[in-house]
C-alpha cells in the first residue's frame, strides 16, 4: 500500500485566550503507515495530547484548529459532518487515555459497557454482544465469566486491559494511546504493551503511542517523533532516535533518564 493510513499535514492548533492565543501545535506533519506503531514523545505541555485529541476531533474550545489536514485513508477528518463523525469515532480511530481505567462507568457491569458500544455501532443484540465481549476479554487475558463484574472488582491493570478490549472490539484501523500505562507499575505495563504488540501483529491495526518515557517508546515503536513546544523537532526510526539522535533536545531528553545499568548520565557525587 502506498498511501499511509493516517496523514497529518501542517497541523496548527491554537488555544484561544482573552488577549493572546497560545500555539499548542505548530505546523506538525507526520504519517502513520498501516500496521505501524508511531510514537510521539515530549514533555508535558508540548502539544502531544492536543494532537491525539484532534485526530478524533475530540478537542474542545478554546482549542481551535487553525490550519492543516488530518487524512485517514485520504479522507479529511476535519470535513466530516456530525453523523459521519459519530460513525468514524471508535470504528476507525479508537482512543485509550491516560486515566482510561477510570473512564469505565462504576455503576454498570463490564458487559453492559461493551453492549453499549456494540449496539450503537454495529446494532448487535444482547446475545451477540455477549459473545463478542467474551472473545475480546479472552484476547486481553481476562476470564470471560468476569464480564458480569463491576469495574471496582478489577485491579488497575485489568481495568486498563478492559478499556483496550472495548477499543478493539470494533476493529479500528488505528488506536491512539495517550500515556496508556503511566499510572501502572512496570511489570503490569510490560504485560499490557506486550499484549497490544501481539494483537497488533494479529489484527494489523496501527498505533499512535504517546508517552514521555523514551526508553519504553524505543522498545515499543517503529518510528518516533520528538516534540518540543508544539513543533515536531525530530522524526526517525526508533533505532536512530536511540542510537543516533540528531536534535539537541532529543539528546537532552535521553540525558534526563538515569539508566539502570552502566554509568549515570550526570556527574555522580562521590560518596
Amino acid at each position: 500500500m502506498t498511501t499511509p493510513l493516517l496523514q497529518v499535514k501542517n497541523l496548527t492548533i491554537d488555544y484561544i485566550g482573552d488577549k493572546t492565543d497560545f500555539r499548542a501545535v505548530d505546523d506538525v506533519s507526520f504519517d502513520v503507515a498501516h500496521g505501524e506503531t508511531f510514537g510521539l514523545a515530549g514533555e508535558s505541555g508540548c502539544g502531544k495530547s492536543t494532537i491525539a485529541f484532534a485526530i478524533s476531533r475530540l478537542h474542545k474550545p478554546p482549542a481551535l484548529i487553525r490550519s492543516g489536514q488530518i487524512l485517514l485513508e485520504g479522507r479529511d477528518v476535519l470535513d466530516l459532518n456530525p453523523a459521519q463523525l459519530r460513525d468514524f469515532r471508535w470504528r476507525e480511530v479508537a482512543m485509550v487515555f491516560q486515566s482510561a481505567m477510570n473512564s469505565l462507568n462504576p455503576v454498570l457491569r463490564v458487559e453492559a459497557q461493551f453492549y453499549d458500544v456494540l449496539r450503537t455501532h454495529q446494532g448487535m443484540s444482547k446475545a451477540q454482544a455477549r459473545e463478542r465481549t467474551a472473545e475480546m476479554l479472552r484476547l486481553v487475558d481476562i476470564p470471560p465469566d468476569r464480564m458480569k463484574d463491576y469495574p471496582h472488582q478489577f485491579s488497575g491493570g485489568m481495568r486498563q486491559r478492559i478499556v483496550i478490549a472495548i477499543c478493539l472490539s470494533l476493529n479500528p484501523k488505528i488506536v491512539v494511546m495517550d500515556e496508556p500505562t503511566t499510572a501502572l507499575d512496570v511489570v503490569v505495563q510490560r504485560e499490557i504493551l506486550q499484549r497490544i504488540n501481539e494483537l497488533r501483529r494479529t489484527f494489523g491495526f496501527s498505533v499512535l503511542f504517546i508517552t514521555h518515557d523514551l526508553g519504553l517508546m524505543v522498545q515499543f515503536c517503529d518510528r518516533i517523533g520528538i516534540m518540543l513546544a508544539g513543533k515536531l523537532v525530530e522524526q526517525n526510526t526508533a533505532e536512530k532516535i536511540y542510537g543516533d539522535p540528531q536534535h539537541d533536545y532529543t539528546k537532552k531528553l535521553w540525558a534526563s533518564f538515569p539508566s539502570l545499568h552502566g554509568e549515570p548520565v550526570m556527574e555522580r557525587v562521590p560518596t
Binding site: L193, Q219, L253, P264
Partner: protein, 308 residues
C-alpha cells in the same frame, strides 16, 4: 543489618494489618530496616506492595500492630509529649503531589516562615528573613523572586523544591520522600534528585526514598529494599541487588524496566504471563528464613513450588 545504635531510625520487625479475619490485609509483615545519617535507603515495589504503609508507619500516622520503631536507639513512647514532638520535628515527609501539598492561599515566604517560627524559636526578626533566604538559596530558588509568590505561580519542580526547603526549615534529620518525582516532568526530575543527593551529603540527612522506578533508585540510594505483598523480599547494597538480583520477584521487576536496547519483538524480551503469575504467587507466601548472598546482600527464602 548493621549494629542498631548507629541508625537514626530503625524499624524492628514491624507488622501492620488492616481489618479482621477473614478479610484481614497484611500490609506490612515483619518489616525491618534502618536509616542512617548521610545515607539513602530506596524502598521499591509495585502498587499495593506496602511501600506507602511503611512510610506512614515511619511518620507515625499508623501505629504498628506488632514490632517497634526505634528512634536513635530508643523506642518512641506515645505518652511523652516532648519526645513525640521532637520525633515529629526530626522526621519529615515530602509528598508525591507537589500541586496539592502547599497551601494555595499563602505565599512561599509564609510556608517557610511558619515552621521556622514554630520550631526554631530563638530566631528573631531579621534572622528569620535571613533563614528563609538561605533555605531558598539552598534549594536553588531565587529568594527575591520566589518568596513573595503563591504556589500556583510556580512549576511542579519549583514547588517540590519549596517542599524540600520546608522540611529543612523544621530541622529534619530524616526525610521520607514518597515518589517525589513521579508527577514531575522528565526534564526536571534529575534536578530534584540531585538536590536530594546534595542535601543528604551536606546536611547528613537520612533519606527514605520510596519509588517504583528502580532506575532512579540506583541514582540516589546506597541501599535498597524490595517489597512485595507486605514483605521485604530482597535488600542490601543497591549495586549488588540491581546487578545480581537473586529473588525471583526482583528479577521480574528488573526485567520489566524499559530497556531501549531490547525491542518488544525480540523473543528474549517476552514476559510469559504464566511465569509472572507463578513468581507473584510464590513471593506472596510469608517466609521467615533469610539467606545471605553476600555481606550486604540478603534475600528472603522463596517458597518451594509444591509447598505453596
Amino acid at each position: 543489618m548493621s549494629e542498631p545504635h548507629s541508625a537514626i531510625l530503625a524499624l524492628d520487625r514491624i507488622s501492620k494489618s488492616f481489618g479482621r479475619p477473614p478479610f484481614q490485609v497484611n500490609a506490612a509483615q515483619s518489616v525491618s530496616f534502618e536509616l542512617h545519617a548521610g545515607r539513602t535507603l530506596a524502598l521499591v515495589g509495585e502498587s499495593g506492595s506496602g511501600k506507602t504503609t511503611c512510610a506512614r508507619l515511619v511518620m507515625r500516622e499508623y501505629t504498628p500492630s506488632d514490632g517497634q520503631l526505634l528512634f536513635k536507639g530508643k523506642p518512641v513512647s506515645t505518652d511523652n509529649a516532648k519526645a513525640l514532638a521532637a520525633y515529629r520535628r526530626s522526621v519529615q515527609m515530602i509528598f508525591q503531589d507537589p500541586f496539592s501539598s502547599l497551601n494555595p492561599a499563602h505565599t512561599i515566604d509564609y510556608h517557610l516562615r511558619r515552621p521556622l517560627q514554630l520550631h526554631q524559636r530563638d530566631l528573631r526578626g531579621k534572622q528569620v528573613d535571613a533563614a528563609i533566604e538561605e533555605l531558598l538559596t539552598r534549594v536553588k530558588l531565587d529568594p527575591r523572586i520566589v518568596a513573595q509568590k503563591h504556589p500556583h505561580e510556580l512549576s511542579g519542580g519549583q514547588r517540590q523544591r519549596v517542599n524540600i526547603a520546608r522540611t529543612l526549615a523544621v530541622g529534619a534529620e530524616v526525610i521520607v520522600a514518597d515518589e517525589p518525582t513521579s508527577m514531575l516532568d522528565v526534564s526536571v526530575r534529575l534536578g530534584v534528585l540531585n538536590l536530594l543527593n546534595e542535601m543528604k551529603r551536606d546536611m547528613k540527612l537520612a533519606l527514605l526514598y520510596i519509588t517504583h522506578d528502580i532506575a532512579t533508585a540506583r541514582y540516589v540510594a546506597e541501599d535498597i529494599v524490595v517489597m512485595y505483598a507486605g514483605q521485604i523480599v530482597e535488600w542490601g547494597n543497591v549495586n549488588k541487588v540491581i546487578d545480581n538480583p537473586q529473588h525471583p520477584y526482583t528479577k521480574l521487576l528488573l526485567s520489566a524496566v524499559p530497556d531501549p536496547e531490547m525491542r518488544f519483538d525480540d523473543p528474549k524480551a517476552q514476559l510469559k504471563a504464566a511465569d509472572v503469575e507463578e513468581v507473584r504467587r510464590l513471593s506472596a507466601v510469608p517466609q521467615d528464613r533469610v539467606i545471605a548472598i553476600d555481606q550486604d546482600h540478603f534475600i528472603r527464602q522463596v517458597a518451594s513450588t509444591r509447598a505453596a
